[in-house]
């Protein structure tokens, strides 16, 4: 756990250089041990606390000075439990992809912590970080640009083994890659083919096989099906669900398609301008949303059923998402919200269970960052 590495440090008042090395090696050892421990199903495996990422805006060529910051992620907290799928939805520019990169440690967080099995991965380095990276893998959006066109499928899927040779010894790799191809529903004989010989759906399967290569515990999927045709999307979604059961994976599933997120997720977080507006189980978010942004988002989704659509109430938001470099004061959503009052401009609403729903046991009782949270079912015909 988090305190473990601290307790291991010896209480020596004047450590010399070699002692520091020993201490670091020991704490690293402890971190690696913690990372390799197993987590029970349903226990939190990833805990994100107040995660912040600001990209500086600079001016000048020789003497750069910071004139502001794009607040891509501005205080995000959530838990991911072992074996579950957490969906993250939001419009472009809301920071959902930046969250993915932070979780992968591909971007350095400006502030906040990401605890993976109790270890804050934003502070890890060396062997411990490498061990974490093995366990958290990513599947990217665009299967056309995320595979190197000059590498064969076998090399692409086998590349993770070059970095983590302990997972598959050298002589065994070809067989292992063929196994992975089989697992994702591709012909193992395709091992020597190049990406351009595959369709979009097949390429996304290759991306998934690469993600699975190191037996990770968490897979972060950033818009994994949005580049695919409708008839192929369902195949890939079904594959991902099957793999989750088979390998006991936890998913963070980032997408803008609310119907697909509902289908695959156990819990869903709705993001707006770098913050989580509302988070809860799929039923709580889709059937009992209490944040006006969630309600607007759900009501705007075109439903493939002309009859239902005639009975649905549609909330059409005015304007566009404000720039994350200069977000509105108070509640970020207030400029587009029909409920906005003076309080919304002055006070930032916290992500918590609204006071009025706290005592009750209704599905509306989930975390929502709105001063005037109110339940409203927008997806069902009236």
């Amino acid at each position: 756990m988090a305190e473990l590495s601290k307790n291991d440090e010896p209480q020596d008042a004047t450590p010399n250089v070699s002692d520091v090395d020993v201490v670091e090696a020991a704490s690293e050892e402890a971190s690696v041990a913690a990372i390799e421990a197993t987590v029970e199903r349903g226990e939190p495996i990833l805990q994100v606390r107040n995660l912040v990422k600001h990209f500086p805006l600079t001016q000048g060529i020789l003497f750069k000075k910071q004139i502001g910051a794009v607040k891509a992620v501005d205080g995000v907290s959530f838990d991911l439990h072992q074996g579950e799928t957490l969906g993250i939805v939001g419009e472009s520019g809301c920071g959902k992809s930046t969250v993915a990169k932070l979780l992968m440690n591909l971007e350095q967080a400006t502030a906040g912590e990401i605890f993976y099995k109790g270890q804050d991965i934003t502070k890890l380095s060396g062997r411990a970080l490498k061990a974490v990276r093995r366990n958290i893998q990513m599947v990217f959006q665009d299967p056309y640009t995320s595979l190197n066109p000059r590498m064969t499928v076998g090399d692409i899927i086998g590349e993770p083994f070059d970095i983590h040779p302990e997972v598959a010894p050298k002589g065994d790799r070809r067989r292992r890659v063929q196994e992975l191809l089989d697992v994702v529903g591709l012909n193992p004989e395709y091992i020597n083919r190049y990406p351009h010989q595959f369709s979009g759906g097949q390429r996304q399967r290759i991306g998934i096989a690469r993600g699975l290569a190191l037996n990770p515990e968490i897979i972060i999927c950033d818009e994994p099906v949005s580049a695919l045709d409708v008839s192929v999307q369902a195949q890939v979604i079904n594959l991902m669900e099957r793999l989750q059961d088979e390998f006991n994976l936890s998913y963070i599933f980032i997408a803008h398609d609310l119907s697909i997120v509902r289908h695959i997720s156990d819990r869903v977080g709705v993001m707006y301008l770098g913050k989580i507006a509302e988070i809860g189980s799929d039923e709580q978010i889709y059937e009992h949303p209490t944040h006006p942004y969630t309600q607007a988002l759900l009501s705007a989704v075109p439903v493939p059923d002309p009859e239902a659509r005639e009975h649905r109430e549609r909330i059409i938001l005015t304007g566009d998402v404000p720039s994350p470099a200069n977000p509105p004061s108070g509640c970020h959503f207030r400029t587009r919200c029909w409920k906005a009052q003076d309080k919304c401009a002055e006070e930032v609403p916290l992500l918590a269970i609204p006071e009025r729903f706290k005592a009750s046991d209704t599905p509306a009782s989930h975390e929502s960052a709105c001063h005037f949270a109110e339940e409203k079912d927008v997806v069902h015909a009236a």
């Binding site: 419009e91 472009s92 369709s199 759906g201 097949q202 045709d229 409708v230 008839s231 192929v232 999307q233 369902a234 195949q235 979604i237 079904n238 669900e241 803008h256 609310l258 119907s259 697909i260 509902r262 289908h263 799929d282 039923e283 889709y286 607007a296 988002l297 759900l298 705007a300 989704v301 075109p302 439903v303 493939p304 059923d305 002309p306 009859e307 239902a308 659509r309 549609r314 059409i316 938001l317 005015t318 566009d320 998402v321 997806v379 069902h380």
Partner: protein
């Protein structure tokens, strides 16, 4: 090849009897090094004034190529139109001279593209680009054209149009850029608009705004609209009738309500079953097996047969014609047609 029957009944909203646009047995192929890519293989459809036809299909189904053929913006070569007719107000545009065609394109038929950022010139102000329509087609002065541009930006609800007319495309958000594309298409009050995936690049909340605007303007000007999309949800919201395309052919046509309630082609049924629902958490998704066909080697018989759960021997040898479908008792189903040998089983079974 079988002769394809007329599938659509004329819309009651027709003002002069005939349809605005009629596409007849259109074929388009591309000559490439690997062989002949048959992108469109005998497409028939028509659109009346004030009517919205949605053309639904996956990538490679030929939906965009058909639209480009109508607009006359296909690169020929490599494209070739070996047969077919495209009649606009009764005149075949394929046999017209380039000059005559030019008078129709832009003025009477306009197109809205998917990606507004790459469709606008980044080094010219939006006001200049909008005004160009009036300067080129109507010989207006620069000053008048700019005034018209501001008027148009107002029409598509761009806030503070007069102040923003000299801004460049990169200064607008995605939704605003798509509004400018719509304004440009509407500039000369065309009779027909072809919108190729107009909202695919936009976020859902903005998508709803843009679709509403398009529908409102269409009503106001009584335009015909061909909406090309892969999104079954968007189609349900705005279309009057739907044509579903697969491998360069129309496999099913129907009024919008009917299609969702009772599809008459296994491909349409598969598509409808494979999308997750927003209002309920379903079981495992139905997935159409296999992949869309390679247009260099379209399967013989029905192009969908390798992926179809109902395929029989006849499907592998005979191309099914797009024929009207009927109720079980023989009652007519106006506007409905299916290109399936076993449409009865699909529709009634």
């Amino acid at each position: 090849m079988t002769i394809i029957e007329e599938a659509f009944v004329p819309s009651p909203r027709d003002n002069d009897g005939g349809p605005l646009l009629e596409v007849r047995d259109l074929h388009v192929e591309f000559h490439t090094r690997e062989g002949v890519v048959k992108a469109v293989n005998g497409v028939n459809y028509n659109v009346a004034a004030g009517e919205t036809l949605a053309v639904l299909g996956e990538s490679g189904s030929g939906k965009s190529v058909t639209a480009q053929a109508i607009m006359g913006i296909l690169d020929m070569p490599p494209a070739k139109i070996p047969q077919g007719e495209i009649r606009f107000r009764g005149q075949d545009m394929l046999t017209m001279s380039a000059d005559e065609r030019r008078k129709i394109r832009g003025q009477r038929i306009a197109m809205i593209f998917q990606d507004a950022l790459s469709s606008l010139n980044p080094v010219l102000s939006v006001g200049y680009q909008l005004g160009e329509m009036f300067r080129v087609h109507q010989g207006m002065s620069k000053k008048d054209a700019k005034a018209k541009a501001i008027e148009l930006m107002d029409r598509v609800k761009i806030p503070a149009a007069a102040a923003r007319v000299n801004d460049y495309p990169h200064q607008f958000s995605g939704g605003m850029r798509q509004r400018i594309m719509i304004a440009m298409a509407l500039a000369l009050e065309p009779e027909l608009i072809i919108a190729d995936e107009p909202t695919t690049a936009l976020d859902v909340t903005v998508q709803a705004q843009v679709m509403d605007l398009l529908a409102e303007l269409q009503r106001e000007y009584n335009m015909g609209l061909i909406l090309i999309t892969h999104d079954l949800g968007v189609v349900a919201d705005v279309a009057d009738k739907i044509a579903v395309m697969y491998a360069g052919r129309i496999v099913e046509t129907a009024p919008v309500h009917e299609l969702y309630k009772r599809p008459a082609h296994p491909y349409t049924r598969g598509l409808l079953d494979s999308i997750p629902r927003l209002d309920q958490k379903g079981q495992e998704l139905y997935a159409i097996k296999g992949l869309p066909p390679n247009l260099l080697r379209i399967p013989t018989g029905c192009a969908f047969n390798p992926r179809c759960p109902k395929a029989q021997d006849i499907c592998r040898t005979d191309i099914p014609a797009l024929l009207p479908v009927t109720e079980q008792d023989g009652g007519e189903l106006p506007g409905r047609a299916s290109a399936c040998h076993f449409w009865k089983e699909t529709l009634h079974g």
